[in-house]
Assembly symmetry: C2
Homo-oligomer: 214 residues x 2
DNA sequence: CGCCATTGACTGACTTGTCAATCAGATTAT
DNA sequence: ATAATCTGATTGACAAGTCAGTCAATGGCG
């Protein structure tokens, strides 16, 4: 039977000498994220990941057969985490489309999602995904769900406000502004603060739907 | 004395058996761009670049001492090319800020700049730049110049139209929409056409400066 | 005792970088 | 003109190092 959350937590606090399967795997995925952020995709080695996790590199392959599987599962985990994050935020928001859009945007800048390690790892995967269909497949479907959701909300906003904007275009603009400010936070030499990024996105929302946002 | 352009061109059409220094270096930089796009940063090897150029791998190191130098010079070349492109477009445009913004946007989607190989190579560098300060330095200053130029144009547009938008924010929104549509063209499974990307950016301009764009 | 996590030495493949030998083409000498 | 010479591009074999993946031995825990 699968270990319950309480058991997993207890094991996580135990001596790291031996760990249960699930705890060790999760720990290795986190170590992979950190390594990707710190060293980039090209210089991410199993030895480096193992050192970050404080174990031998042989153990990494014991739990994840190949390096490729470790990376794929790490990407799958991050995709799932991101997906859960915005879906939970959406579920908690009122049925009002303006509130839903706000919730969606805020979720994308939640501190749990935008840690330096997470941002760096996303950047590393983006760089490689272009030439590796496997990585595109891993997060393509989840991305599509996000886009569709954003479009639905924008359509409703356009209907409510009687705006002249194409809802599909507005949704795309909002999405790329979110992605773009993410990129800025990752790649600029002296990046602006997350609050400044959020302000930029909210300004875009105000431009698209002036009656709903200010 | 340095070879004249006519001489360089003549040599480019010659049998590839032996080439002058400059022609070979340029050819290798193009081969590096293609390889980065096709295989990603992590799997770009000197052997692969050499194979693409149709020469032995020893010759790559004869012209570029180390792999690192080949990569930095490739990035420098692409940065310079991009910089020249938008500066030339700006110089050819009328003094009117609306015309200048249009020229700047169109320049970013010029076919010479947005070839699949160029886009893929940019993506590969972006992915690694996060963890390698050297790459950030290579293009950081040129990026800053572009941002400053965009801000100047936006400030003038705001002044002319008496818009309520912050020019700095508007410039940032436009820039990230441009970057974001670039990313879309690179990473989406079924990306939209460059004309659709251009339409998205122009819609953003219309949202920011409705009196100037439609 | 038995089971599984864990280690660390080892292998084979691959990659960067070196270097001596070769070759093409231009220059000079005969 | 033709041969000899020189220069610099080009090659391919090789050295050195790195890394993913294997595996036999070890160790902790029920």
């Amino acid at each position: 039977m699968p270990p319950e959350p309480a058991t997993v937590l207890a094991e996580a606090n135990r001596s790291p000498r031996t760990q249960s399967r699930e705890v060790r795997r999760q720990q290795l995925i986190e170590a992979t994220i950190s390594t990707l952020a710190a060293r980039g995709f090209a210089r991410t080695t199993l030895t480096e990941v193992a050192k970050t996790a404080g174990i031998s590199h042989g153990l990494v392959l014991f739990h994840f057969e190949t390096k490729e599987k470790l990376l794929t599962e790490t990407l799958t985990f991050m995709t799932e985490e991101y997906h859960q994050n915005w879906q939970a935020a959406l579920a908690a928001a009122p049925a009002d489309p303006a509130a839903q859009l706000l919730a969606l945007i805020k979720a994308d800048f939640a501190s749990a999602i935008t840690t330096p390690a997470r941002l760096g790892a996303w950047c590393a995967f983006w760089g490689e995904a272009q030439s590796r269909p496997i990585y595109q497949e891993a997060c393509g479907e989840k991305d599509a769900a996000y886009i569709r959701q954003l479009e639905v909300i924008c359509e409703e906003l356009v209907r409510q406000g009687g705006y002249g904007v194409d809802a599909i275009i507005a949704a795309r603009i909002l999405r790329v502004v979110i992605e773009g400010t993410w990129l800025d936070m990752m790649t600029m030499q002296n990046p602006y603060a997350p609050t400044e990024a959020l302000r930029t996105v909210m300004s875009t929302a105000a431009l698209c739907f002036p009656k709903h946002f200010r």
